[in-house]
Amino acid sequence: MNPGIFFEFAKRSVRLHWLRSLLAVIGIVIGVAAIASMGMLGNSLVLSISESLSDVGDAIVIYSHGGISQGPSSTTVNDKITQRMLKDIIRASGSNDVIPIYNTADQIEVGSDDGIATVYGLETQDLSLLLDLEEGQFLKSSAGALAGSRIAEEYDLKVGSRVKLGDENLRIVGILEERGMGFDINPDSALIVTDKFFSSTYDQEDYNFVIVKVRDINDIEYVKDAINTKMNRKDDVVDVFDTKAILETILDTFGQISTFTTAIGGISLVVAGVSIFNIQMMSVTERIKEIGIIRSIGTKKNEVLKMFLYEAIILGLFGAIVGALFSFLAGYAVLMVMLNSTEFLFEPSTLVYIPYGMIFGVVTSLVSGFYPAWKAANLNPIEALRYE
């Protein structure tokens, strides 16, 4: 029970000076909440992005040079990938799969609902390379279409549903698994049709872009170089992107943002540390006489040290707990707004930022409480006793 009495001292002292204790705690709360919630937020974002992109890390996307500068309304004059360019790409890609893709947007009608949907045209043998089925089957003939998960939900599409795309009637033969955001294709809110259907309906021979799926992810750079040397010898004919690099840039940016916000949290912890230092110095100065008394009746130096460190720990722990609660609530709210989902909040790699932030808070108060406690412990008992 011995440590109990020193903890009791600390508790009572904090309670006696509750107002100034509260002010110091607020600083810790802000610091812990900032560090933990920013860490949680950043991690959730990274998780959600990497989940959406993980399966496309092995893709190279090739656009015709200039074809990428496609404005929101200017769907007209765009350079495309011609059959000849496609042959070159196939040759440069070796044994890797080359998937030419048609892409546009068109009006769709399902019963009385109508709207605009993205349309992809793929060769039937390429479908299984890029897409996964939730139900139904892949396309075999030009009369069918596949529906992305989101569009299926929106229009209540089932296998067998009828859809009017432009002027053509199509039957849904399969519903796709949700795939998330991608840098090659975004099939979730799209209809997938065959290349034949696409080129006859929209009267388009050339492809909008080409995807090369690399078998071995380490070959990405090699294949990219091969395509570049083959095609962009004199002038730039195509632009070559790999999704892995795009992913890395994005994760990098998130990393920087979260470093920045964590630094802000760090600054508020420094401020909190200064205020804890301050009130602990006050506490020591006010209680010099009391320190003299307890030293004279047999309290050791390190026991006095403990007593004042407990005070700092109480403040830090209290601030850390409240800060953790706040960071969880803030993280929940922000993720709800930004991602419409809080599933990543409950991932261990996200939640770990809460104890992480709390440790920062408690360590800050311990560090700033140490000098005052040391000073209290090393007061000369006689002089402390004479102090009025």
Partner: protein, 221 residues
């Protein structure tokens, strides 16, 4: 049996404008069970002597033995243990701990020594012996009168059953009636074998002691 012995003890405070000699070559032996009053003018070194005997301070020169131990050889922690186990302090200003209740004040040195709370009822018994009622024990010290506070302080000084009681003007802040009560308590304790050393300005108070030592300018007269 000698419980305290000073051999040529000096205490010198180095100050910016020269040294202050608070005690000058003091030699003194005190037998167990003695009751000593120390008198002398202000600034003569009475408190310095008492603090030294209380192992709050160590001599600059000379040897001081408390309970057979040469305090000059002890570390700060060992001096603290000596204070906790063999010495009880009673101060003019009572010096109770404001954060603790009356009972907790008495219990505090007990917890320091035994590392556990007093479950044997020693504190309550001591408070009762000091004439303090049960319902006072949950009050904070500042809710008590001076006489009551001093009696709590005596109970606290006694809780670890020390051999020596050191009192620096124990009645200095009390009226003569309560002062007399406190002195009766001390006399009683001395009768039970406690060695008491008491600093006082009051000759009437000094009469409770078995012998009186007078100090002037840091020297025993």
């Amino acid at each position: 049996m000698q419980i305290i012995s000073l051999e040529g003890v000096s205490k010198i405070y180095p100050m910016p404008f020269g040294e202050v000699v608070a005690l000058n070559n003091v030699s003194l032996t005190i037998e167990e069970g003695d009751f000593i009053a120390i008198m002398g003018p202000s600034g003569s070194g009475k408190s310095t002597l008492l603090n030294m005997v209380g192992s709050l301070d160590v001599p600059t020169e000379g040897k001081l033995y408390i309970n057979g131990v040469d305090v000059g050889t002890l570390s700060d922690d060992e001096l603290t243990d000596l204070r906790r186990d063999t010495i009880g302090f009673i101060f003019q200003q009572f010096n109770l701990i404001p954060l603790l209740t009356v009972r907790e004040n008495v219990e505090y040195p007990y917890i320091l020594k035994y590392r556990k709370r007093d479950t044997a009822g020693r504190c309550d018994e001591l408070l009762k012996c000091m004439g303090l009622t049960e319902n006072l024990s949950h009050h904070k010290p500042n809710e008590l009168s001076g006489g009551q506070q001093q009696r709590v302080a005596i109970a606290r000084a006694l809780v670890n059953d020390p051999k020596i009681l050191l009192c620096d003007e124990p009645t200095g802040n009390l009226d003569s009636k309560t002062g007399t009560q406190v002195m009766e308590l001390l006399k009683n304790l001395n009768g039970k074998g406690k060695t008491i050393i008491m600093v006082t300005h009051d000759t009437q108070i000094a009469e409770y002691a078995k012998r009186t030592i007078t100090i002037a300018d840091g020297e025993i007269q």
